[in-house]
């Protein structure tokens, strides 16, 4: 058994075990340490009773206070929602045309739109809303279907070429080359003409020939001067911005077999207030247009089956 003795050098009792002449001093824990330890035990009992503590098969013991991290999150979210509810309610009753007249509400809408944009829109338009080939850059001042608040809201609600939405912005540019509507050489001529409109190529014999082809086939939608039409979402061919690319190859491909972008109708997925906020955000990206009666959205676009050249850029 243990052979306890008092160590001479330190006057301390040993624990009584010896291993090859090595003994251990029996140094009790400091009193304050011991009491702190007991205090933590008492605390832990209280904690186990009050809070979720013991893991069971599917969940843990609930605790008498009924606290849970999920519940706390729900409470926090509820509080946030509550805080926002005044702004949301005001946004719900404010027509989007009236928004610029209420700067504080506009700022709140832009902030909310920025958050909603990151969830719903960045997949196509990019985190900075700069778009990419085929997906329009929303920062610039070029708008295919209109760039004032109401036009943007309309585009958001009904989408572009969204099947099943009767009010979706819809247009279809014929596949002039693929379907044999224009011979291949004339397609090259009209490409030269289109490129000369924006100064990317100089006027030439080909472009002069192309002008006649353009007037016969393209001017219906893109306008006689190539400035485009928002009624058909027909891009302005005279500016510096190209939805696809401004190279000769890209333009001739687009004339020959056009691609058409589709944007979902967000009216069926998001609530009207969120859409309003998104419209405000996109409008505030730096290229938003101010209201002018002549740029009111053309909601009957899809009833124009003869709408031909579109989305060429």
């Amino acid at each position: 058994m243990a052979n306890k003795r008092i160590d001479e050098a330190t006057n301390t009792e040993t624990v009584g075990h010896e291993w090859d002449g090595i003994e251990e001093l029996n140094t009790p824990l400091p009193r304050w340490w011991l009491w702190s330890f007991y205090a933590t035990i008492v605390f832990s009992i209280g904690y186990v009773v009050a809070y979720p503590a013991i893991p069971m098969v599917h969940s843990a013991t609930a605790g008498m206070l009924g606290w849970s991290s999920r519940g706390e999150l729900a409470r926090d979210l509820g509080a946030q929602k509550n805080e926002r509810s005044k702004i949301v309610a005001e946004l719900a009753v404010t027509p989007i045309e009236k928004l610029p007249g209420k700067p504080a509400l506009m700022r709140a809408a832009v902030a909310g739109g920025a958050a909603a944009f990151k969830v719903n829109c960045v997949q196509c338009h990019g985190a900075g809303a700069a778009g990419s080939s085929g997906f329009p850059n929303l920062n610039d001042d070029d708008w295919l279907w209109g760039g004032d608040l109401a036009a943007i809201e309309q585009t958001l609600i009904h989408g572009i070429r969204q099947p099943g939405d009767k009010e979706a912005r819809t247009s279809l540019m014929p596949a002039f080359g693929k379907d044999g509507l224009i011979p291949a050489d004339q397609i090259q001529d009209v490409t030269s003409y289109v490129l000369s409109l924006s100064g990317k190529e100089h006027a030439s014999a080909a472009s002069r020939r192309g002008a006649a082809v353009f007037a016969a086939n393209c001017a219906v939608c893109h306008g006689p001067d190539g400035k485009g039409s928002r009624q058909f979402g027909a891009p302005d061919l005279t500016d510096a911005i190209w939805l696809y690319a401004g190279t000769r190859q890209a333009v001739s491909e687009q004339i020959s077999a056009p691609r058409h972008g589709v944007m979902p109708a967000w009216g069926t997925r998001l609530d009207p207030v969120t859409i309003k906020m998104l419209a405000a955000y996109v409008h505030a990206l730096g290229g938003g247009e101010t209201f002018a009666p002549q740029t009111q959205p053309q909601t009957q676009a899809q009833t124009e089956p003869q709408a031909e050249a579109t989305a060429a850029e």
Partner: protein, 491 residues
Amino acid sequence: MNKPEPIKSPGKPEDQPLSLYAKREPVFNRRIDGKFRRLKWAIMVLCLAVYWITPWIRWDRGQYSPDQAVLVDLAHRRFYMFGIEIWPQEFYFVAGLLIMAGIGLFLVTSAVGRAWCGYACPQTVWTDLFQHVDRLFDGDRNARQRLYKAPWGPRKIARRFAKWTVYLLISFATGGAWIFYFADAPTLQREFWTGTAAPVAYATTFVLTMTTFVLGGFMREQVCIYMCPWPRIQTAMLDEKSLIVTYKDWRGEKRGSLKKAQKSPGEFGDCIDCDQCVAVCPTGIDIREGPQIGCITCALCIDACDRVMKETGRPRGLIDYATLEDAEREKAGQPPTRHLKLIWRPRTILYFGVWCAIGLGLLFMLGTRIRTDLSAAKDRNPPYILMRDGSVRNAYTLRLRNMEGRPRQMDIAIEGLPGAVMWTEDMDHANAARTLVRTVPADETQGVRVYVVAPADTASQEFAFTLQARGDARERDEAEVNFDSPFTEER
């Protein structure tokens, strides 16, 4: 590991179990009067007055800034000290002050020893205050000692309760005063009593009340001896030229009472072993054992000894402020070093020089700093936007900082980037120009998002925004930024 050396407790038999824990010997310091005690009174009154009165001093800064002379406005991130206002990015002023305080401690220590510990340290001041409360309730040294040893009874409980209540009141006044440095004092006081102040105000008051209560009322000299790092640092700083409280053993030894000295004159020194120096010591040490960490050089023992020397008809200064070097000189019969020479030596001059240099540097910066600041952050996604007409747009977030206590008109301008114009979110693109005017509110930072558009074919390059406050040409700042563009120089 070194084998711990057996520690011998004085007055205890060797075979008793040894403890590393030294039980505190309570200190009951006797009341004493003298020139150092009076100096201590004066400094105590001064320190407490500064502490309690400072937050209530008003200082007019106009309608836009608080009118409290000394205010650490954490909520708005401003620090006010009379005519000086410091923003967070100017925190180096505070850092400089702290460095000056540190070097100031070195300077004081090398010049006059542990004067900080003895007179001005809050622990000393409050301990002193609490010891006076002790004396007020329980009487002087002997009465307090008796009461301490007396068993707990109604009388002792009543006395202790009353005394601790006063402790608590003083502690509350101490902890409560602290919060007034961080908010408008009159407002906070009203809020505090009506229960509408911020929770942190109550928490701070509670914590500081309790620390004052415990540190000043009970731990006292133990803080100096065990907790405070400063005495430990000072032990390394003191040398034979430092002014410390010295017991002149060559004059005092061998100790003997008056009676003994009368019986055999010539055998005993000046010390009559009356223990008055021990009785008055607020940290309970015996200075005759030599310099020690517990000695805060409050010089009360000098007062006590001087009185005894006077009463017994001996020259004063058996215990006195003296350097170790001087003690040796005096022992050898030489005159002591002149006071000025004690203070004016290479080490103190060096500390003083560094201290002054930092102080002058801070003053210079304070005098030449401008209260206008501009910073610019460029939008990086997307880096540039091509516009319909081929021009290129970049977006920047400018932060216009008006650090003066009045709204100011400021001109923002583009420097470089030929042909570029800018406009802000809240104005019409058609009014874009190379300069914009904004009114920045008093003592605020205004964020402005600006769009800069440069003509077609403008290549990527650097340019600068400048901010000029109207009315003072010195109040100007600029921020260099990049302008990104799809076009390269060759085009």
